[in-house]
């Protein structure tokens, strides 16, 4: 699956993690896909849940094995 945009939030902490994801999603149209690189721990606990709460659909999550993950999310995919 090809992402329409890429965002790295491994250099920020909560709540900036989700704020940056929200801002990046604002730039996309419904149905477009954002690829997000995020850290294990607090970001992985909260970002996927917040995306679900706001109606975006997670398509996949890859554990890169170095303490980071790659998340593919479809804007408005749950609406």
């Amino acid at each position: 699956m090809q992402a329409d945009d890429f965002l790295d939030i491994t250099d920020v902490v909560c709540p900036i993690t989700f704020v940056k994801v929200k801002v990046a999603l604002e730039e996309l149209d419904d149905g477009q896909i954002l690829e997000v690189r995020l850290n294990e721990g607090e970001p992985i606990q909260n970002v996927p849940r917040s995306l679900k709460d706001e109606g975006h659909k997670i398509l996949s999550l890859d554990d890169l094995g170095n303490g980071t993950f790659t998340l593919l999310v479809k804007k408005g995919g749950l609406k």
């Binding site: 606990q45 999550l61 890859d62 554990d63």
Partner: protein
Amino acid sequence: MSANYKELKKGGFMRQRQPNYFSMRLKSVGGQFTAEQLGTIQSVATKFGKGYIHLTSRQGIEIPFIHLDDVDAVKKALAAGNVQVGVCGPRVRTITACQGNAICPSGLIDTQKLAAEFDKRYGGRELPHKFKFGFTGCHNNCLKAEENDMGVKGGVKPNWSAEKCIFCGVCQAVCPEKAIAVDKSAKSVTLDENKCVYCGKCIKSCPTDAWQGQSGFVVSFGGLYGNKIAVGKNFLPIIFDEEKLFAIVEVALQFFKDHAKSGERFRTMLERVGWEKFISEVEAVANAS
């Protein structure tokens, strides 16, 4: 007016080091006060106290510097503004609670509703020593369930359905106990129920609602956080039925009454009498259908 300290203490008057002054404890359930009540408290603190209040460690309010001579007038003023006096001494104390699932996105149970119901059923009940209930809405444990004589924590037992799952792996990543294993290539998901702490993070983060579950109560007994510190023990499976929860409370309070010496805390009694006896009595009620 004679200084019947025992009576005053029962009615929430905490003796101060300054002679004839009391810090007046107000009744709180789950740490909620209405704006009307706050107005009453403000006026009493201004008129009879020193113009300030103290927030207690268990979500209560005290008004310091109430003079013995003003006790009746203060009681009257508070009652007129729908503020009740709190309890002290050997009985069921202030029931604490977080905001629960009525407000908090993490909440799994309605802690405020439960705290009010517990207050109605057990508030102020006379016992061998103080007894504290606390409610926390989820595994994040903002209200520290295990520091109470009896703590109730919201939990949810997860169930996975294969039809909806897209094997994205989010549940495995969010599970704080590493209880979930997702095999993307074999398209399998396994949950180790012995590791599950009922936090519900898998359910809340699942993009397809392949994880669902039923909310319930995770109960702990015998917490202390004063002179002696002890973490409340959880030995029961998650409970889904409110009536069962009430039945368990009755067993615990009766056990406390039957076995504790006067002035002995619940935990201390359990250590002396033996946990096994208590556990078997509680389990008999918990496992009854």
